[in-house]
Amino acid sequence: MVSVTDLQTMYEQMVTARHYEERLVDEYLVGKQPAFDISAGPIPGELHLAAGHEASGAGVCMHLRDDDTVTAPHRPHHIAIAKGVDLKRMTAEIFGRKTGLCRGKGGHMHLFDPDVNFACSGIIAQGCPPAVGAAMAAKKRNTDSVAVAFLGEGAIDQGGFLESLNLAAVHDLPVVFVVEDNDWAISMPKDRVTDVQNGAQRAAGFDLPGVRIDSDDATAVYEAAGEAVMRARDGNGPTLIEVQVHRRMGHFMGDAEAYRSEADIDRAKQRDSIERLAEDLRSHGVTDDELDEIRERAHERVEEAISWAKEQPEPGPEEAYENVFTNPPTQAATDGGSAADASGDADETGGDN
């Protein structure tokens, strides 16, 4: 059974994620109004927001430790926050700053934080194989860490996911696959692209347990994920979980959602997992004052992260050439070899002379 403290922690993660993204919207739109230009303003590029997905990230990550691995897709903020990714450095990354998690090289779809074993891929389902690999490493080294791969329901038709299910199953690897079903893959409703009712059904074909959670109830996610993570930690193999979540916004910022009915958008907004969890907390005797306190703390943390990020320096142009390799061979790749020639390193690379 979930404790009230755990419920409060989840609530805090969820309101942090929601408020964080509301604030990101403000910042993202700077320089993009009245005419929306994706490359303008302090946060350029695509921005995929996860409002309505928070219960999934929070409910799953409650069971994870820093040494457990998480891979997230193109919509990663709520998962990163729940996994404990450094919010300041994550924000600096989104602003493209030098002190960002990835020194400004990754951006919002490609957040990497080795301190808590968090990584992303913007390519659909391609976070799944590396999660399997992290689980493989844990098994080979006899640790009890686990890996969790998050993906959208649109990703359940992708080879990278299906092949990963099989590889994880056949080797009994400690992986949990978490599908966030928000009913849409950009403009494509799920029944246009797949014949199954839900993604959890994919598990049967690979002989692993599949669990479908029909509402974005953080407690239900917490309970299902708890079982799956324990199963993985105990060496009993992978589990596939699908959580019904809701896409409260467009696919990405700037998406006018012409393909989606008003009624569908309203429906997504009515079912608010955060409000539902607040009610649960009240029924457990948590007062409105205490909930306000949690919210205020979350808001302060978000404000701090955003103002810190905005004060950070931009990366200098020379940094573009760094980090291609961990052990850069020579300067040859970027200057046609002249630096290597000049430094005399060329001989060491096996030249004839």
Binding site: A35, F36, D37, I38, S39, P44, G45, E46, E93, G96, R97, G100, C102, G104, K105, G106, G107, M109, H110, S121, G122, I123, I124, A125, Q126, G154, A155, D157, Q158, G159, G160, A185, I186, S187, M188, R192, V193, T194, G254, A258, Y259, E314, P315, G316, P317, E319, A320, Y321, V324, A333, T334
Partner: protein, 346 residues
């Protein structure tokens, strides 16, 4: 093959200016009306009309049977396009961003590109693979590449890179009618999207009627005597802008838009280099083992005696970084082009 004297005046005599996306869609719609065997599939190509407006309006006119939203299963639907093409249809399949080729490359380079040859010519694969390319809007390493050289390197695919609305339409007609697989790479920044403003160049006059532009004919965008600038895609427009700046300083650059990489119009490049003796190649793909190296090699093979100086500008063999300051550093800009031409001219 050289097209220096080619005359567009007749074909472009029209007040009707279109964006590149409108021109591209117009050709597709025309071919779909003419030929029942042509159909389009991809992610978000139906109701959405393509993330980069590559299919706007097609669903309304042709319905879901011929304008198909497909699962996020690139291996399956790109491979299905190969199969449908081998069965005699003329599918157009869209890979939303070229960067996603990785999840489906086997279908592209082992089936689509090779089945004609491996079958000894008994099969042909008359399909078009449309795909969005390029950066400049800070979308980072998995959404900003052009990969021109990757596709042009692997034999068996024709590779088309339009830089104007006029070319986009004519090349699309040619692509759909071609009996071979054609990779049609459209640059996001050139499509004329409201949310990603284009430079002024790609929006051009476009005739209403159908017309084809043969593959393997580069376009001399601007004749000049001092330095040859060979480029493609977005960088055609950057090179033209640079040429105008240089003109003020009395440097006369010739700008060549390759338009197709396979086949490649070597003659037009050689003719120009023989005249100017100086060659700059500008590319938005990675520098090593790519388009810039290939053009320089052909110039060296065909006109070595006439060449006095060579330079190339491309992405300096790093993944495309996210931050604006970093992406601007690695993607050749108008000023970089102007500076490189000046250096060559000295």
């Amino acid at each position: 093959m050289a097209t220096e004297s080619r005359d567009y005046t007749e074909a472009t005599e029209t007040d009707r200016e279109l964006t590149m996306s409108r021109a591209m869609v117009e050709a597709i719609a025309w071919e779909m009306r003419e030929n029942e065997e042509v159909f389009y599939m991809g992610e978000d190509v139906a109701d959405y009309g393509g993330i980069f407006s590559s299919t706007t309006g097609l669903l309304d006119e042709f319905g879901r049977d011929r304008v198909m939203d497909v699962p996020i299963s690139e291996t399956a639907y790109l491979g299905a396009a190969v199969g449908a093409a081998q069965a005699g249809m003329r599918p157009i399949a869209e890979l939303m961003f070229v960067d996603f080729f990785g999840v489906a490359m086997d279908q592209i380079y082992n089936n689509m590109a090779k089945n004609t040859y491996m079958s000894g010519g008994s099969f042909s694969v008359p399909m078009v693979l449309t795909t969005a390319v390029g950066g400049t809007y800070n979308d980072a390493g998995q959404h900003s590449q052009t990969l021109y050289g990757t596709f042009a390197h692997l034999p068996g695919m024709k590779v088309v890179v339009p830089s104007t609305a006029y070319d986009a339409k004519g090349l699309m007609h040619s692509a759909i009618r071609d009996d071979d697989p054609v990779v049609y790479m459209f640059h996001k920044r050139l499509m004329g999207l409201g949310w990603m403003p284009s430079p002024s160049g790609p929006k051009t006059g476009v005739p209403k009627e159908d017309y084809t532009i043969p593959f393997g004919e580069a376009d001399v965008k601007r004749p000049g005597d001092d330095v040859t600038v060979v480029t493609l895609g977005l960088h055609v427009h950057r090179a033209m802008e640079a040429a105008e700046q240089l003109d003020d300083d009395g440097i006369d650059a010739e700008v060549i838009d390759l338009r197709t990489l396979v086949p490649l119009d070597t003659e037009t490049v050689l003719d120009s280099v023989r005249k100017t003796g100086k060659l700059l190649v500008v590319d938005e793909d990675y520098q090593s083992f790519g388009v810039t190296g290939e053009i320089v090699a052909r110039a060296a093979e065909g006109a070595l005696d006439d060449l006095s100086a060579v330079k190339r500008l491309a992405i300096p063999d790093v993944p495309i970084p996210y931050a604006r300051s970093l992406e601007d550093e690695v993607n050749p800009g108008t000023d970089d082009i102007a500076a490189a031409v000046r250096e060559l001219h000295e």
